[in-house]
Amino acid sequence: MVTRIFIVDDERMMVEAFREILRKEGIEVAGWSYDGEDAAHTYAALSPRPDIVIMDHRLPIKNGIEVMTEILKLEPSTRVLFVSADVTARRPAISAGASGFITKPFKIAQLLAAIRTMEGKGAAGNGVT
């Protein structure tokens, strides 16, 4: 089964980079969003639901943890991988249910390793890269 990923980041250049990296790896990008409020709505409208969400923390309107909380309420099996420049968000994100946390800037290998780790998990688990 092909992994489907939803991207949430307010930096359009970053979203483009994620899409390019994932496309090259043959990973399907189910959708993307540039702000917190739109992200929750867009995710809810997707069918089937994405397996993994790549989530930035500092977003307009709602932050990444708030969006993740809404997503996990809707679909508890979704794994959320935080990719953020805000290192202080690591602990609260993991505590709130994030499956992983990568600090920007990152190496592509780090991102892919985290995604592969999550693909292997049936349910959300804590991991930090």
Binding site: E11, M13, M14, E16, A17, F18, E20, I21, K24, R58, N63, I65, A85, D86, V87, T88, A89, R90, R91, P92, S95, A96, G100, T103, K104, P105, F106, K107, I108, A113, A114, R116, T117, G125, N126, G127, V128, T129
Partner: protein, 527 residues
């Protein structure tokens, strides 16, 4: 109160002019007057000596030459008034020196000494501080002056002009001397009234009142016809009143001044305290603003660098590149990565330094290190990670720093695992309690990456301490510079070294020592 007293004295003088002068009639018998005169003079002497005591002592303590001079003047005045009493007819009947002439000479000289000292005090600059020698010279001066006057008035009385005309009051010479004295008192009163108006100094006002009272008293003296008439009696009452005004004013000032000084000092202190609090609040706001700016800067720079790194990596992994293209892309990637690490670490340090070192936020080192093992294994599945732990048994290893120290520990271990290219990673982590050079209990965390040592260059770079006052140069890429600063912020220290284990395997070790905290509150996660 003193102002009212002055008014009363003035009214007394008017009474002298209108009633006393009318017939020069004695108001009491000579014996009764002598008793009243002696009593008033003894009271005046007491006041003069008290003023001398207070002024002289405060002059010595505060090294004030004016105070010493005035003190000495009142000592002289007190002595001459004593001679005036002792030579006053009727007290010592058998003495050949008990004459109105001699007695009045002593009194008038005392008046001139008093007004002379007060005028000198009012008109001279008095800038220099008093030395010990000043006190000695003044005392010697007083002694010499008193002896000379004593000798001239008693022994060489015949050489002095007569003050009294038999049965007719003061002679022309006596009146001239008395009016001179009145004039000097009046000048002194005006001068002190002026000073009181300029400086709003109560002591000047009281001195003006005393001098005016003395002037009125001297006027009363000048108009007396017989020694027991009302004018003569009023002259002595007003004379005593002027001493009393000066004494009460001085007493009031010597009691009130320390309290005033204290109040002013307290007011200044409170004012400074308020200013200090305002400055502290401003500094705190400025610090928070700077941290917020740094936070946004670091965040945005990271977001800018991330796509650069990703696209560069994709280019490197893409179509065949020329060696030169590959070299340039490698440089771009490495520099972007260094910039990213620097900004992240700078932000990490700023966030940690925002926490007060003595804030009650701790970390259980053992618990934190144990939880890292699972995380490392899940994120580095391609590697076999073996962690040899040696932790204290049945006790928490609590140190300050909370999540900031946890972050540093995790980054150090993760960096070590990332840098090992082999599939097998062996790490030894030891936590134990030690004492530092100052005898403080410290938790020592030693993290050894077995079989891998720092290159000399990496070791030298890792030992660079972050210092915002100077350029970091090559050291900016070293995270240890920042880790060390964070550990130091929480009262600890970080050491980096290459070591040889018992089996002679070269290894790299990072040791962190942090103060032991007995109890703690774990930092709650924030957004």
């Amino acid at each position: 109160m003193l102002a009212i007293l002055t008014v009363v004295c003035f009214l007394g003088f008017l009474a002298v002019l209108t009633v006393g002068r009318a017939g020069d009639a004695p108001v009491m018998s000579d014996d009764a007057f002598t008793s009243a005169h002696t009593t008033l003079q003894l009271l005046s002497i007491s006041a003069a000596m008290s003023i001398f005591g207070i002024r002289w002592t405060s002059g010595r303590l505060s090294k004030s030459r004016p105070d010493l001079l005035v003190g000495a003047a009142f000592l002289t005045v007190g002595l001459f008034h004593l001679f005036h009493v002792l030579t006053y007819p009727g007290l010592l009947e058998e003495s050949q020196y008990a004459t109105y002439e001699i007695s009045t000479h002593f009194r008038l000289i005392a008046r001139f000494v008093l007004v002379g000292a007060l005028l000198a005090l009012a008109f001279l600059p008095w800038r220099r501080k008093a030395e010990l020698s000043d006190s000695i010279f003044i005392v010697l001066g007083v002694a010499v002056f008193v002896i000379v006057v004593f000798y001239v008035v008693l022994v060489r009385a015949d050489s002095l002009p007569e003050l009294y005309a038999e049965g007719g009051g003061l002679t022309t010479y006596g009146l001239a001397v008395s009016y001179s004295c009145v004039g000097l008192f009046a000048i002194g009163a005006l001068r002190y009234a002026y000073l009181a108006g300029v400086g709003k100094d109560a002591m000047h006002f009281y001195t003006a009142a005393a001098l005016m009272t003395a002037a009125i008293g001297e006027l009363s003296f000048s108009v007396h016809g017989s020694t027991s008439d009302f004018a003569h009696l009023m002259a002595h009452i007003l004379e005593f009143t002027s001493f009393l005004i000066l004494f009460l004013a001085l007493l009031r000032e010597s009691v009130a001044t320390p309290f005033k000084t204290l109040a002013v000092s307290r007011s200044v202190h409170q004012s400074d305290l308020v200013k200090l609090e305002q400055k502290t609040a401003e500094a705190e706001k400025a610090k928070l603003r700077a941290q917020a700016h740094l936070d946004f800067l670091a965040h945005d720079v990271s977001n800018i660098i991330s796509p650069i790194m990703s696209y560069t990596e994709m280019l490197l992994a893409g179509d065949p590149l020329t060696p030169q293209q590959r070299k340039y892309l490698d440089i771009i990637l490495r520099q972007a990565q260094m910039g990213g690490i620097f900004v992240t670490n700078l932000r990490r340090l700023a966030t940690a330094e925002a926490v007060q070192p003595d804030a009650f936020v701790g970390i259980d080192l053992v618990k934190a290190l144990r939880s890292m093992e699972d995380v490392l294994r899940s994120t580095h599945k391609t590697k076999t990670i073996s962690i040899i732990q040696s932790f204290p048994v049945d006790t928490q290893a609590v140190a300050p720093g909370g999540e900031h120290i946890e972050d540093v520990l995790f980054q150090i271990i993760r960096d070590a695992v990332d840098e090992v290219t082999d599939n097998s990673v062996r790490i030894s982590i030891t936590v134990r309690k030690v004492r530092d050079e100052g005898g403080r209990h410290m938790w020592q965390v030693s993290m050894t990456l077995i079989g891998h040592k720092f290159s000399p260059e990496a070791l030298a770079e890792a030992k660079i301490i972050y210092d915002p006052r100077r350029r970091m140069g090559r050291g900016i890429a070293s995270s240890y510079a920042f880790y060390s600063s964070i550990v130091s912020h929480f009262g600890g220290r970080l050491r980096i070294e290459n070591v040889a284990d018992g089996d002679k395997v070269a290894s790299r070790r990072v040791t962190i020592e942090l103060p032991v905290v007995e109890t703690f509150t774990e930092m709650s996660g924030g957004d």
